[in-house]
Symmetry: D2
Subunit: 346 residues, 4 copies
């Protein structure tokens, strides 16, 4: 394993550089990688400042002329339901966009004792909820509508302005002077980024929009919500139910109209043909992974994994009883060996 | 790649046999594999008949004495929300089980022109919806409650009794005589398994239960539903929303009681600590996979992948405008280069 | 007020008799009322036995010849979403019915200390959950599909077989001999009806069906659920969300298909034109009723009701600030007199 | 019936004046009514301008000293789920409020050919979506949190600026000069109010908030949405599901935490004890009203209402068959007179 990115750029067997480091290092690595002729996939947000991002975009254009490719990692564009939403807008199914409602809600900072990390320091992260998750919801809104935001009226807030420093060296390396906390010896350092941002906007086609990015929406773990209303129809998405897009078609007669819950797991949905049968949502495969883990762990430990063949036999007996009962017009067919306890509640 | 399972049993570098073949071959392979000292993971249902399953369970017990492990693949037990449901029952949070509602609903056979396959032939598949998907919902009900079904009253139905044969050789190999279809030259063969099964049951603790397995529930693609009502609480699960378990606690005062929608993505949920942060549902990772596919496909094709660094720059400009607007108490801050079209609808 | 129903039958100014008494009195009252030439609306179930119901149906037919009308109160037929469901089936939108899933789930008897009432005595109520709520779900299934149940395979259970008697005279009047309870002096009497019933069935068109009626589904207060799958489409209803019908159209291409959540509040839905504007769900009017109660109660008590005109003025100031801010391109516009506390969390 | 409000003020048998006229008449009527010693309930928004509202609030204060009461009709405060939400905040269950998300979404103006009415004319209505429905969501946010908005950054838009005039006299009476429409002879008049408004805000306790009021959210008929996130918990309400409040308790351990769907139909919820049993949602009563309408309409028309006693008898036969089958351990029990058609699909 190589931990020095500069060495990677020198290697001929490396074609692609995937930049997943904190935002303050994106520009330097990307510029060097493109210069070295590597294709670059850079995590979002592209950089910590517009100036850095401009330099990166310019370098990207120059590299492109030499056949070197680059891309920024707004990953949620690749959720099938999101890509399907974009298709619908592009096909004119929504008509002209009138309203956009975008929100990216998390809650992992609601606890004021959650520790200070690089994500809460302006020097490293650039901004807080705004750049980390606000960038995603802004990108999604533009990607799905095919329009651009033309301006904003915004408010931001830092609800917790000092946090405990679990790693005292963090204070030194980041040049922040910690302060002695009231609760004894715990060091505390300042939060220098936003905890939450809200803004209204107009899109290039005239739509009104509201946006929100926060790490303080108690109870919302990773709620990426996007709603779009247009003259011909509407869309609604929530990442907490990532395999679903809700679609309203305004041309259906009022009696029968409503939001259709499309389970985006059909073979004709983006990327899905490479995955599972209809209805076997993305995530289905984890059952098999967990099963393999449990089976192999048991084998390695010399223990018996469950469900055993005896468990399988018992289910088989039930299936057989179902068939027998059905053949006898539904008559009660006991399962071999099973008994019912008295159901009476005392 | 080896296509003859018998050769696999002879190899010393093979420790585990995973049986994913049609049900009529399970017993033969499993018995031979256990005999050969291989650990066996066998797809469900265990076998096509109780007799085969009994032989397999006996062989499994014998092998176990020699340290050879076996397991049957009721994969849905390994969905975190299901495992969490079982935990709650085991902890007494549901109290005594009074009702179970189990259903496994698919719709891929609703079209009478869907072709005949081995899954529709009793010789290969043993049964239809009953064994293929009914086995899962029965296993889940027993696994989560920790109780056994004690008997059943059942009805089954085959709604479509002849289907087109896309592969004529299928008729020969399976010994089924096809009949000339009314619509010209298409061969048709008989469906010899159930399309759907419904049954009522009593569990060992006295609960009343309803079960349903069907491939004709139009619009339901893979709806695995399990509801349990007990004296102290209730549970509800639907695989279409696989990361969620709904839990009712009967000891909460009536004013505040209701089903709690637990997003089973916390580190303290089964298996989840090995995966993503809270709220990043199982399936989250697919966005990255799709992103890699699109990026590498573009690189290989010499095309430009999107979102480009220029796209990233434009988002950066928006983030910057949000910060500027927030610093100026929400005043309108235009995004560089963006213009709004007149919003007026004609 | 008249408490003797026989006297009502003698009055000329009474045209209609609405029978809302326990089931064991339905037949006698209905027969007498029809005989007296009164139109009769009888609460469900029609009677406590098939024999009584037959006599009532015969009397109803005879009265009809004389222009005397009768009706049984399966009220849920008159929920707009249910009537709309029936329309869709009648129009062929569901095609041939393949599956019906009916359940009526309540939980008010889960507590074993809930007292004995006439509804739990076979002599008065005829049956328990089966007749009280099972009758509704059976009627709805037949009403919506336009088909009849042709037979059943059923299980019933009485989970709590003795309950405390809050009104000792109840034991006497109903001829039930109470037993001394273990917990001191509380009298207990036997529950003589079912607490829950589950059954499978076939409809006249060949569909398979499951039904359930229970007062022990902890957490489900009045969940009347009806799902219908047909060859062309599907329907799903739950009374807990009474203004909504979910409709699946199997003729929509797979990419765009899904269950449409129809909010049954449009003027072209049954009965709705006489009520509120779209989206103003049934129940909307209660806000006004509660408002009138609170207003008049305050007036009567010589107290000041809220929201006051001053509250209204404060909202007016906000509306005015919104307009001012919008005129100034989103610039921050303070609300007269309002101040923000420091948001910092300690 | 009296159509001149001034005459009502002169009558001694009138104690209460309920003002439901367009906004430009509120102040005059309210001032006169209070002067006349009538208790006043005034529809929202209180007035069309801050000046009028100030005069009304002052008059209300003066009248109050004389025992004359007044109230403004923010009716949605009286929805039980909203009142319950306010209780929870007041009890400290949400902790300190951090975020508010308010939206009132309708779509009845999306069609550009919807006619011009007084609600779209600034002279009569004061404002558009902002005053008509924005006033409600602002009031709800303040009522539930117990905090005040301290300022706003807002954008508004009028998407359709001219609409057809169905009633030409409207142009005259309101002093608006119509213009000849492009499509022949239809007169068109200007829309002089906002179609939609979006704004961000800070509450008095420091929370960030987003608000939206629109009549162009295609597919949303009357979606009044309010979400509140606090340090101890969160709330979510949507009027489309008016009997439900979603509540998150941040003090529950992460494994078991989630939004609880409280069905606000228990006797200990505000106003509910005066209505129906648990789970019988507000709106339940409409089934009975519709039933009475249908029954009486049939009686008046000399027609036979359904369900008939014969329908009731058939259900009774099913209930009887269920009991018989249950007594015989689930054996198939046919319903008298019913037959199953062959289920085979061609």
């Amino acid at each position: 394993m190589e931990t020095d990115w500069r060495r990677l750029l020198e290697r001929d067997d490396i074609d692609v550089i995937d930049i997943c480091t904190p935002g303050d290092t994106h520009a330097e690595i990307a510029l060097a990688a493109l210069e070295a002729g590597k294709h670059v996939l850079c995590e979002k947000p592209l950089a910590n400042s517009v100036e850095e991002a401009e330099a990166m975009a310019a370098a990207s254009e120059a590299a492109r002329a030499r056949g070197v490719r680059s891309m920024v990692g707004f990953t949620y564009r690749r959720v099938p339901a999101v890509a399907y939403a974009r298709q619908l807008v592009a096909e004119g199914r929504i008509g002209r966009v009138l309203h956009v409602r975008g929100a990216y809600l998390q809650d992992w900072l609601t606890d004021p004792e959650a520790p200070l990390t690089w994500r809460l320091q302006k020097e490293r992260a650039g901004s807080g909820a705004l750049g980390d998750i606000g960038a995603h919801i802004v990108d999604l809104a533009q990607h799905v509508t095919g329009e651009a935001l033309t301006g904003v009226s915004a408010l931001t807030e830092t609800f917790v302005r000092e946090r405990p420093v679990s790693d005292p060296s963090l204070l030194g390396t980041s040049g922040i002077s910690g302060t002695a906390a009231s609760n004894g010896s715990t060091m505390r350092g300042p939060v220098t980024v936003d905890d939450a941002a809200v803004f209204v906007s107009r899109l290039s086609g005239g739509a009104l929009a509201t946006f929100e990015a926060t790490r303080f929406a108690t109870g919302r773990k990773n709620a990426i919500r996007l709603e779009i209303n247009g003259t011909r129809g509407s869309l609604a998405f929530d990442f907490e139910d990532m395999n679903v897009l809700h679609v309203f078609d305004n041309e259906v007669p009022s009696r029968d109209a409503g939001f259709t819950r499309v389970l985006v797991t059909e073979a004709d949905h983006p990327w899905v043909a490479a995955w599972w049968p209809p209805g076997h949502v993305l995530g289905y495969e984890h059952g098999f992974t967990h099963q393999a883990v449990d089976f192999l762990t048991a084998v390695a430990a010399g223990a018996d994994p469950r469900p055993s063949f005896t468990d399988g036999l018992q289910v088989q007996r039930i299936l057989s009883a179902v068939e027998t009962s059905a053949e006898r017009e539904g008559s009660w067919t006991p399962i071999d060996g099973a008994r019912t306890t008295s159901p009476v509640l005392s």
